[in-house]
Symmetry: C2
Subunit: 247 residues, 2 copies
DNA sequence: TCACCCAGTTGATCTGTGTCAAGGATCAGG
DNA sequence: CCTGATCCTTGACACAGATCAACTGGGTGA
């Protein structure tokens, strides 16, 4: 489950898709092709990037900021089914409709590729198709790991699991065990955390307070989190896995 | 979300991988190649097919019977993260370890392919890689849909959602709306249903009884289910989608 | 400076589901 | 026929988390 992330090659820093999504080896030809069909889009915090069911004419990846994938029932109950952090890929090659809403939770910049030429390129470049399969398998693992969180963990464990994931992604890419510390800003409101965890925002708030009281985390303001002992947080999360979700 | 299933071409009936997993067009060459690396395995109900973390040296698909993918926490809490019905694919091309336990819930026959030659064939046949990407995207959609069930639905809605999925897969492939009926055998114990739904077996039993009392379902014995009005069951499931999960 | 607003916190109470326990139905083997 | 095993059902009660409601703190604009 612990997929090491590629280091960002200097020439690829601008657009994550180059190394993460598609071009693991930064093949010059492929980069040039990608460059030709690439464009950027910005969204403000709270804006909807795509509505569920809309036709999606692009694929792309997050350059900066955070977005979420959410599903909503008729009566308004919502469940977040994915978290998009920088370098994560969005879009379904070969599919037309978006299966869920994509929402910007912070200001966000995306690097997009028009879908038709991207698919054409994918068909001609087995290398890209391979990389996409691998990414999709990673996402599937993450989704299934999250099913365990949603179905069987307590509120306290859920919060700890979420903090592990965000901390791991945001703070550093080190393994993180007993003794290690983490420090990061939560890119989500309490309500968004609740939607991700299948809880209410009140329960999220209470459990955050409880973890603070127990010394598992420290809070500076409402969003900034300090984890004095990553291993302890992971123990609370009840995770025997190393928390290496989402690659 | 409603992915129509391929009709089974007569020449492909024996081994689902031919049409479903890999060979949408039944290309003769590919079939011959697949035939050479193919073998069958049987398991009895209750048997473990693969343990989480084991090296997995094959991929394959279910010919008959039902299996489940499950994750287990250290303290024994378990969550089922996938249901494998006939024609479903198992295995992660390009990955070595199994990420979860695979358990036979009924007697089951699988059609397997040794992993190395299968991957070699996949690399040489973009067609197969494509089909696998498509299947993985389907599984991802299903997993995310299930996250909504686990995170936000009530016990009653969960049961109804599960019955929809199993009924749809087992009974027929018709759309199923108001007025239509369904009839099928549950391939799962109450405990397995509970593990799939993030509930206890007692709650599953109680809600099954409640649905029976309300006339939403009828039970003949413990496992045989009759749904007099599929549309009504779907209403109880609270699903605006057509329940067309798992293809 | 004040008023307002929003995100978050905390308290009181309610309820759906878990937990524990007893008992029923079905089946296989002796 | 009885016996034990397995799976399922039902009841009584407990509790985690939901719900409803009041309040806090910090930022923004007039």
């Amino acid at each position: 489950m612990n997929v090491p992330r590629h280091k960002i090659a200097p020439q690829c820093a601008e657009c994550p898709i180059r190394h993460k999504a598609v071009c693991a080896r930064c093949d010059a030809d492929e980069l040039e092709q990608l460059d030709r069909i690439k464009y950027y889009r910005s969204f403000e915090a709270g804006q909807t990037i795509i509505w569920s069911g809309d036709k999606m004419d692009f694929v792309g990846s997050v350059v900066s900021g955070v977005a979420t994938l959410t599903q909503t029932m008729e009566d308004g109950r919502t469940q977040m089914v994915g978290l998009l952090l920088p370098s994560d890929f969005v879009g379904r090659p070969g599919r037309d409709g978006a299966p869920y809403d994509v929402l910007a939770t912070t200001d966000i910049v995306m690097c997009c590729f028009r879908k038709i030429p991207f698919e054409k390129m994918m068909n001609e470049t087995p290398h890209i198709a391979h990389r996409l399969l691998e990414m999709t398998l990673d996402e599937l693992d993450a989704a299934r790991e999250w099913m365990l969180v949603l179905g069987r963990k307590t509120a306290r464990e859920k919060i700890a699991s979420l903090l592990c994931i965000i901390g791991r992604r945001d703070a550093s890419l080190t393994p993180g065990g007993h003794g290690d510390t983490m420090e990061f800003d939560l890119p989500l409101t309490r309500e968004a955390m609740a939607d991700y965890l299948g809880l209410t925002l009140e329960t999220v708030s209470r459990q955050m307070s409880a973890l603070r009281k127990d010394g598992v985390i420290e809070l500076r303001g409402k969003r900034h989190v300090i984890v004095p002992d990553t291993g302890r947080l992971m123990d609370v999360a009840g995770d025997d896995s190393d928390g290496g979700l989402y690659g």
